[in-house]
């Protein structure tokens, strides 16, 4: 009898559950020599959700996402990604985790001794260990077309403009189809048209691949387009949370200052 009961209500595997939490952070603290950068960061990121983080320069936004990929270790608090504690991972586990996370650096961080094509091939050959050249070429061209830079394929990063570099950086992270994307200021330094295109690209990624994203930005347009939920960060803590519409009505001075330009 017992067996049939189990057959009637089979448990779904964790990865298809709807409200599955992919990143869980609780009471994260990070300090450097003599300043405490993160004081108490707590949030959950659900599968397929876009969370936008707003906050003034130096408030610790980049530090937060560096903790998620294990570049920095929190001094205190719990940080689990896909249910596993990042701080306790060994090198191999960390590598496995990083393969599922895309990280767009504030600067783009292109490898400047390699052409755009080689930059994009790098994660395919070194991380996914693909060796079918046709497949590699196809994926490189597809993703580069997606960011509108197919004709820059054989250029070196030094021959690209800042915005182009950022788009190539974005392409390089998207090429491995990560489950979680961490964007560090994806639109800063870009013109309004390209910014909007990038924002829409982020949105498309979310729809197409069910990626969960954390998007750090100062660009309210980008926040409006991409956010399911926005958190506002100040002095190492989250001070407000809600949808774009909710936060627009907030009375908090800092929150107001972000939304004031966009009436």
């Amino acid at each position: 009898m017992k067996a049939t009961n189990e057959n009637i209500s089979p448990k779904k595997p964790a990865s298809t559950q709807k409200d599955e939490v992919v990143i869980h952070a609780k009471g994260i603290k990070v300090g450097f020599v003599d300043n405490e950068v993160l004081k108490n960061i707590t949030f959950d990121l659900k599968r397929g959700e876009n969370m936008v983080v707003l906050g003034k320069s130096g408030s610790g936004k980049s530090v937060t996402i560096q903790c998620i990929v294990g570049l920095l270790k929190p001094d205190a608090g719990d940080l689990t990604v896909f249910g596993e504690n990042v701080a306790e991972m060994n090198d191999d586990e960390l590598k496995q985790l990083r393969m599922k996370i895309g990280f767009l650096f504030q600067s783009g961080a292109l490898y400047d001794s390699m052409t755009v094509r080689e930059n994009l091939e790098f994660p395919l050959t070194r991380v996914l260990k693909l060796n079918d050249q046709q497949e590699i070429d196809k994926r490189v061209e597809e993703v580069l077309d997606g960011v509108g830079l197919l004709d820059a394929i054989d250029k070196l990063p030094s021959d690209l403009s800042g915005g182009m570099r950022k788009r190539v950086g974005l392409a390089r992270t998207l090429i491995v189809k990560p489950e979680i994307m961490l964007y560090d200021e994806p639109t800063t330094g870009l013109d309004p048209i390209t910014s909007r295109e990038i924002s829409e690209l982020i949105l498309n990624m979310q729809k197409k691949y069910k990626t969960s994203s954390i998007i750090i930005t100062h660009d309210m347009e980008c926040a409006r387009i991409t956010a399911d939920r926005i958190v506002v960060m100040d002095d190492g803590e989250y001070i407000a949370e809600g949808s774009y519409k909710e936060l627009q009505k907030s009375d908090n001075k800092i929150v107001k200052s972000f939304f004031s330009e966009t009436i």
Partner: protein
């Protein structure tokens, strides 16, 4: 004062510790599988081929100058025919390897330090690490192995060119045929002159690659740290070359020169 000294010592000790860890990680990554052959070959080309001219010119001049400088004293001793032998022994044992290594410290250690330093500053190393690739294997292992292989090769080439420089200088005053000159040089050389010299250049090469990579890989984030990394790579690598040379001479004299 005392406090400053203590923090200074502590930093120094921490640095040594970090270097040991870096060395262990380098060593583990050699055998980790997935050796980056194409990058290794590219580095060998960059490091070896592009330094050849410089090493050649300096060695040539050193050989030439040494003969000119040695000549009067040797002639005064009435041992003119010993000139090729004197040059060959001093060049192969000591001057060739050290000159080559110092030149390479200046050219290679600094460029590795600056390259990896700027990759660190521009977050390229972080980006590689975060993508799940192995920056140590791709950037560090290839460079250190390439210097360990290429510096000995450059030293051998430098030796030959240096001896040739000596031949030209000798030919200005005494006429000696090239075959006879090289015959005299080689006849005066022993296995115990050649082998320790080559072995020590392997260590020189390793030190150059290791120091360059370590300084670059551990540079701070900030544009001025690229310069600091390059500069301290040259200084530290040069120092290491002399330390290794001092140790090597002790060992060789114990083993060979009794």
């Amino acid at each position: 004062m005392a406090e400053q000294a203590i923090t200074g010592w502590r930093k120094w000790a921490e640095d040594i510790g970090e270097q040991c860890v870096f060395f262990a990680r380098f060593f583990r990554n050699i055998f980790a599988g997935g050796f980056e052959w194409s990058e290794f070959v590219r580095q060998c080309y960059e490091i070896g081929y592009r330094s050849m001219m410089l090493v050649g010119i300096t060695s040539f001049i050193m050989g030439l100058v040494l003969i000119v400088q040695l000549r009067p004293s040797i002639v005064a001793l009435g041992a003119e025919s010993m000139l090729p032998k004197t040059l060959a022994v001093s060049f192969i044992r000591e001057i060739g390897p050290v000159i080559t290594a110092i030149i390479c410290a200046g050219k290679i250690a600094s460029s590795i330090g600056a390259e990896l330093g700027s990759m660190k500053v521009n977050e390229q190393i972080d980006a590689m690490e975060v993508s799940g690739a192995n920056p140590l294997q791709y950037l560090v292992v290839t460079r250190i192995l390439a210097t360990s292989l290429m510096v000995p090769l450059l030293a051998v080439i430098g030796d030959v060119i240096g001896l040739f420089g000596g031949f030209l200088a000798l030919n200005i005053t005494d006429s000696i045929s090239l075959p006879l000159y090289f015959h005299k040089c080689i006849a005066s050389l022993d296995f115990s002159d050649f082998l320790p010299a080559v072995v020590k250049t392997i260590f020189f090469g390793f030190a150059i690659g290791f120091v360059g990579c370590y300084k670059g890989y551990h540079s701070n984030k900030g544009t001025e740290s690229v310069g600091i990394a390059a500069n301290s790579a040259v200084v530290t690598a040069s120092l290491w070359i002399f330390v290794i040379d001092a140790i090597a001479v002790q060992i060789t004299s114990l083993l060979f020169y009794k």
